[in-house]
Amino acid sequence: MRADAVRGHLDGLLLAVLESGPLHGYAIIAAVQDRSGGALELRTGTIYPALNRLERLGLLTSSWEAAGERQRRRYRLTDAGRRTLDGERAAWREFTTVIGSVLNPAAPPSPAT
């Protein structure tokens, strides 16, 4: 799946992989790719400004944490982030239901005999 197709859903994907616990940038990228079975083509560099934006909106918090000799910035979901994720899921379900009903219409009822 091309990066363009992912663009409008990036926030939801990032929030979703952080739901189970805090992660640093590269681990977030790996989690998105693992969950998609490698089907999502992400320009991975775009993740970092997106994480900064979600933190500015109050959906994530972050802090530098030691990882061996290096420091990594780990992100956590806030309560507002969880509520936004719930909203993203509901919107996605509604979207797939509506589009699915157009793409795969139910068989028309058979005429009464």
Binding site: Y48, L57, R73
Partner: protein, 219 residues
Amino acid sequence: MSGADPAGDPIGDYVADLSAALHGPARAKARLIREIHEGLTDAVDAHAAEGLPRHQAARLAIREFGTAADLVPCCQRELTIAQARHTARAAARTVPFLLACWLLLWTAVPDGGWAPRLLTVHLAGVAGTVALLAAATPAVTGALARRLPVPRRLPLAVAWTGTTAGLGMAVAALALITSSPLAADWPPLALAGVLAAVAHGMVATSARACRRCARLKTA
């Protein structure tokens, strides 16, 4: 972790190119660049662990990351908003100086002519503008932005509001300092002038940086 790479340091070069192309508050920019550097290093480590030679792992990590030219607009967008917020905070820090300045002028020349009255109105106007800027910018770019997109011209508006307020402070400082030798009770006026000059210095530099960021291309 890494040996000498005959192809040089592609990750270092990439990050240096990105850093040179981006502008914004020093701390926000350093954080973003450091995070990108760490992320690229993690990607190189992951590819090298799968058996790729290190220089090939670095090239692959950079290809997956996107070119610096691709990445600059979305990174600059965040840094431009960070600069607008920084300028609004700098403006907020001048409010106590402006109020002290206004109070000194008000008490030193309680029933003066039109010039001191005009200056007190001018200072009140500048303080009010600055307070509005300081209150609105964090809200519009923070929690409110979950529901409403940040207006694209907001950083430019913040930059020019900050610039105008800075000019207002400079005019007040000049008027107060030059007129204080003529006043009977000159020390409060001179002190008010110095406070206005300090406030001008605090906001003018940040507003100039904000004007520069607001002119750059963003995603």
